[in-house]
Amino acid sequence: MRGVVLLSGGIDPVSGRPAVPRGEVAAIGLALSAGGAVGGLHVGEGSVAQRQAGGYGLERVDCLRGGGDAVAILAAHLSAPPPDLVLAGSRACGGEDSGMLPYLLAERLGWPLLAGVMAIGAVADGWLSVTIGLPLGARQEARIRLPCILCAHDAAPAPPFVFDRARRVVVRTVDVSDAPPVPVVEGVERPYRARPRLIGSAGPGGGGTVLENPEPAEAARVLLAHLRALGMLGSSEGASIDA
């Protein structure tokens, strides 16, 4: 299986020095556990962090040099020929990095995406079985169609850092054609508005009702009643939905 690990710029949040984010180290570990060749992919100039990523087990890191939207550059690079598996961390740590990137990329490529992956299992009929990490240590088994994007859970087992591998990693700069720039989203300035106090009105304990296989209409009625009880909907709103 050919795996590609997406590498962000990698800035340590405390020191501001180059560092591979924890989630990307876990992603490298997942890629290695899947077997086969594993390469790293970074949009931008390579830095110390990309070389360090080699220390965790990547044999090669390609740095795509081109202007514009990183998602478009990655999508173009990954579509020909597509790898079996694209892995990423789940949180960005600096600069223009963004945890949204894998989601935008999945949307662009039309690939499925799973986040919070703790372990990778076997492939059967083009489907990959994975283990998802849930809060409080719970685990969930899932299957995903290949090719796909997996975001590693921060707590997935991390491979050890080996200096010998870091010094051997081949960092290649690949010039790619510029992609259209990211559309600039202009912010709108408006006066401060007090938000409804959700926690205050919810009260301690929360409560709630568990419905087993409810009828859609029944489920909607319970939800609306709950939101009204929280003071988030006016009593007149939603009357038409009830009807």
């Binding site: 340590d12 405390v14 020191s15 020095r17 220390g55 050890p160 850092f161 200096f163 010094r167």
Partner: protein, 620 residues
């Protein structure tokens, strides 16, 4: 008849030479050493008779035994061989007989070492045959020489030569089995010793590693330097190292003697059995040895490697001047740099060192926070000051902050001009280097040297002996040379110059705990004691003090590696302080402070020398 004696002694000598060449051929499979090994042979007599004897003579009985046995065995042979070959008068034969007789007394003393009771540090096994072989050689050859001197008939001479020859064969056999190997390997090791600076002064700094070499550190025996391999074979298994080792005492899986014996055995496919105490609780590692077979995880348990606190107590005690710590660090370098196989806690500390330039992962700008109330100036790049105060790793610890504040207050009172590097002070790299991560150490060192070179100052003062050692002894090889002083040295100077006046405070008795990196690594054991004598009422000494002091357990990445133990090293050390009747344990290192303060239950107070001096200072 003389020719017969000469043939017997000469034959044994030739066989010994052949055995030496066989050993040499094995050692030469190691990496070549820097200097000429052959040329080093000229240093051997001096190193042997002065430096080795100096260590052996710390135990006079052992020195007597060795002088008599080795002296008799060799001098008798040296006299009898030419006497037999060239023909000699009765006086020469009589002298040879006397020399062998002395050797015989030595053999008796060798026997007495293990009879009636063998000390636990000594090895058994083949060593039990050593007195017999020595006695046969000395008595047989001694009688033969005596018979020649008195002109006895042929038969008694032949019988005596047979006995002597049997002893000689026995001694040769004991070369292969271990006990006599030290005699042959010792010559090679002393000739090619990897720290020649030890013979002219002090040489404790680790050597920088070439980070582009294909193999970093040691994975297989052939990765060691050739003379180092001879050094492992030179071990006589006297057990002085294991008696001094804090990790061994605490029941961690390390015994320095077993370690060296393991490395010696690792060179051989079929090594002789080891009959000394093993590393406590370590599983038997029965992998096959060989020059190209992995050491760690095969013949040596991983924990043995990470239990070492690099305190150098074993090196200090070793009569063969073996460099245990160098071997440990070389093996750690292989594990860390080539395999990434470090303990979890150590891996975290190394990652933080790499990514945050600080093994605890804390913000460098927060290092000076403990001194916030004292408003210590930060020296900007290009700035100039009298003393650069290197705060070190301890500054992040609130407890050690008290020590640093005491030091700064004293420096203020003495009217010194000083500043810190502020957020530009990165970790000196001590922890990374001791854990074998030479790459991170060199990166940190380059940054620290750059920060220091950008500023002008007369000297560096630090309260951390680990930083002191790295800055003073290990940065010069990387291009940074400064005068570096420990805070106890500075305070001692100020008191002696009269810039600080102390009035002795009465209180409980104070025992000074020597930090390894100040004492054994830098030989500074007097200044702190002078300060304590001036500041405190009664000073007592623990049984192990000065160059023989016991480690607190905090060095060499020990706490980060967190090796299982039966008891804690600082608990043992605190017990020694109690036994000395100390009410206060004076410390001079952030590591020792943290380790000894971690001892639970009622115990002597732990105070830094600077705190005790501050309590005694009077306005001048």
């Amino acid at each position: 008849m003389g020719a017969l004696i000469a043939a017997e002694i000469g034959g044994i000598a030739l066989a010994a030479l052949a055995g030496w060449l066989v050993l040499l051929a094995r050692w030469l499979k190691g990496r070549p050493a820097a200097g000429s090994w052959l040329a080093g042979l000229r240093h051997v007599p001096r190193r042997y008779l002065v430096d080795v004897h100096h260590v052996v003579a710390r135990r006079p009985a052992a020195a007597r035994m060795h002088a008599l046995a080795a002296g008799g065995v060799l001098s008798g042979a040296v006299m009898a061989l030419p006497a037999g070959l060239l023909g000699a008068g009765r006086i020469v034969w009589a002298l040879a007989a006397l020399a062998f007789g002395i050797g015989g007394i030595g053999a008796l003393l060798v026997w007495r070492r293990r009879v009636p009771r063998s000390p636990p540090g000594l090895s058994g096994g083949a060593f039990l045959w050593l007195p017999a072989a020595l006695a046969a050689w000395c008595v047989g050859n001694g009688l033969a020489a005596l018979f020649m001197a008195v002109g006895a008939p042929a038969l008694p001479v032949v019988l005596a030569v047979l006995l002597g020859g049997a002893g000689g064969v026995g001694l040769l056999r004991l070369v292969a089995l271990g006990p006599m190997r030290h005699a042959l390997a010792g010559v090679a090791w002393l000739a090619g010793h990897t720290r020649p600076g030890r013979f002219t002064g002090r040489d404790t700094a680790l050597r920088p590693l070439d980070l582009v070499a294909p193999r970093l550190g040691v994975l297989v025996p052939a990765d060691f330097l050739a003379p180092e391999l001879a050094g492992f074979d030179a071990c006589i298994q006297c057990g002085r190292c294991e008696e001094a080792c804090p990790a061994f005492a605490a029941g961690q899986r390390l015994n320095p003697k077993a370690l060296i014996q393991t490395l010696s055995a690792a060179m051989r496919v079929a090594p002789a059995a080891y009959a000394g105490r093993p590393a406590p609780g370590a599983p038997v590692m029965d992998g096959k040895g060989g020059m190209a077979r992995p050491i760690v995880g095969n013949v040596l348990h991983r924990d043995s490697l990470w239990a070492c606190t690099t305190c150098r107590a074993c090196v200090e005690e070793c009569p063969m001047l073996i460099e245990h710590v160098d071997a440990v660090v070389a093996l750690r370098r292989g594990q860390t740099l080539m395999l990434g196989a470090v303990r979890d806690g150590a891996a975290q500390a190394l990652q933080a060192s790499r990514e945050r330039a600080e093994p605890g992962g804390r913000d460098l700008a927060a290092r000076g926070d403990v001194l916030a109330t004292l408003d210590v100036p930060v020296l900007p790049p290009g700035g100039e000051t009298g003393i650069l105060l290197w705060l070190g790793e301890g500054a992040f610890d609130a407890r050690y902050g008290r020590t640093l504040r005491a030091l700064v207050t004293l420096m203020r009172q003495a009217g010194l001009r000083f500043a810190t590097l502020g957020a530009d002070e990165v970790d000196c790299g001590d922890l990374a280097r001791r854990l074998g991560d030479e790459a991170t150490f060199q990166a940190l060192a380059a940054e620290a040297i750059g920060a220091l070179k950008a500023r002008r100052f007369a000297k560096i003062v630090t309260a951390d002996p680990h930083a002191l050692h790295v800055l003073r002894n290990e940065y010069p090889a990387l291009g940074g040379q400064w005068t570096v002083q420990h805070h106890t040295g500075l305070l001692d100077e100020l008191v002696r110059d009269g810039r600080l006046r102390l009035e002795r405070r009465q209180g409980g008795s104070v025992a000074y705990h020597d930090p390894c990196y100040l004492g054994r690594y830098n030989g500074e054991i007097d200044a702190p004691r002078r300060l304590l004598d001036a500041a405190c009422g009664g000073r007592v000494e623990m049984a192990r003090h000065g160059m023989k002091a016991m480690c607190c357990g905090g060095g060499g990445g020990g706490p980060a590696s967190d090796i299982d133990a039966v008891t804690r090293i600082p608990d043992l050390r605190m017990e020694q302080a109690r036994a000395a009747g100390a009410g206060v344990v004076a410390v001079a290192c952030p590591g020792c402070t943290a380790m000894l303060e971690g001892v639970t239950g009622p115990r002597p107070e732990v105070r830094d020398v600077a705190e005790l001096v501050l309590a005694a200072v009077v306005a001048s």
